[in-house]
């Protein structure tokens, strides 16, 4: 049983592009990517041989074993497998994270409308329940997979590995992973993406980045969304930027509105530039795409 995503134990569902297709259930385990795990070799110390250095049969003796293993090592190895898969196929993957209601899906829909004519785009949607978000993405003509995490509060490397396998993206493609709306847990789980992009809407507080520093520290780009609402709000853009830079001095900040399209030129330019940097030297860059 996969205890990372719980498949086999019931909560997680990967829902494919064909809507009528049942939950993958057992099929989930027929994935091609390498799931071999490196459980670091533990060093054994016997402390229980007794005063005379002799073991007495039938008497239980405790011993200490040194493990020194990262608790997230399994997720990290799945993430690295995904990262290798992406690198070999010149696929550029972004992990979009935010609190619920920041406008991630609308932002993604508007991004895909502008980008999908020139690039092969794919979307992995993470939510606890329903395929509503994947349905909205598919309406743009872009292939999307919905992962329902059940009780889970984040996507992990294993789930994304399965989803990528079902999407079967073409070489040079772009994958947008829309994580579960949660500013805490997704920060800890590497999915193999090139960058985390954190979305903060102006209807939230300016101090969100210092309240939830882990996520803003893990992200390379912050999109300050819903800028069209600024005239109606008492939101201090400069203070929001300052706070984010305090947590992460290297973060890039762009102000956008998925509603009016403000700032989208910069956002699309950032995607192209980051993709070029990531794929530098890969033959796919010198071909048509």
């Amino acid at each position: 049983m996969c205890t990372v995503c719980g498949c086999g134990s019931g909560n997680v569902r990967v829902e494919g592009p064909e809507k009528a297709k049942p939950k993958y259930g057992g099929e989930l385990h027929h994935h091609a990517h390498d799931h071999s795990q490196e459980h670091g070799s533990a060093h054994l110390h016997h402390y229980g041989t007794g005063r005379a250095s002799a073991s007495a049969p039938g008497i239980s003796q405790s011993r200490m074993i040194q493990i020194e293993q990262d608790i997230l090592s399994k997720n990290n190895s799945y993430a690295n497998t995904n990262r290798r898969y992406f690198a070999e196929r010149a696929i550029f993957a972004l992990n979009l994270v935010s609190s619920p209601g920041s406008g991630k899906t609308t932002l993604l829909v508007e991004t895909l409308k502008r980008l999908s004519e020139t690039r092969h785009c794919y979307v992995i949607e993470g939510d606890q329940q329903t395929s509503k978000d994947a349905d909205r993405i598919r309406a743009t003509g872009v292939a999307a997979i919905q992962i329902n995490t059940g009780k889970g509060c984040h996507l992990d490397g294993h789930m994304v590995g399965h989803a990528v396998e079902h999407l079967a993206p073409c070489d040079g493609g772009l994958i947008f992973i829309e994580n579960v709306g949660n500013l805490v847990c997704p920060a800890a789980f590497d999915l193999g993406e090139a960058h985390k992009v954190v979305i903060l809407s102006v209807t939230e507080g300016e101090d969100k980045s210092i309240k939830y520093p882990d996520m803003f520290a893990a992200a390379d780009l912050m999109l300050l969304n819903k800028s069209d609402l600024l005239p109606h709000l008492d939101f201090d853009v400069e203070a929001a930027k300052e706070n984010a830079l305090r947590v992460n001095p290297d973060i890039t900040i762009l102000t956008v509105s998925a509603c009016t399209g403000e700032g989208f030129d910069h956002w699309l330019t950032w995607i192209e530039a980051a993709r070029t940097m990531k794929l530098a030297g890969h033959p796919v860059l010198s071909t048509a795409q």
Partner: protein
Amino acid sequence: MHEMSLCENILEIITYQADQQAFSKVDLVRLEVGPLSGVEVEALRFGFDVVMRGSVAEDARLDILCPEATAWCQACETNVPILERYDPCPNCGAVSLQITSGGELRIKEMEVS
């Protein structure tokens, strides 16, 4: 919130080690959890008891070491202790320190029988 799935990862490592090193009971699990690991220690303790039920680590004691977080201050050219990611240098007040430790999240050792 993700402490529960971290406990499942811990159980998986324990179960693997139980098989590899032939033990049937875990008496103590010692973890190292840095203050910048994004983990709420009390939630981890709660999840641990729940997740370990029915396993070789049922009733195991959980010992959590919390090492200090440190960061490199360019101005002072030294490692300084910090409490949060965005803390300024306690000596000179400089900001944008380079974090050098505090994100630890690992199983250090176990007492088994």
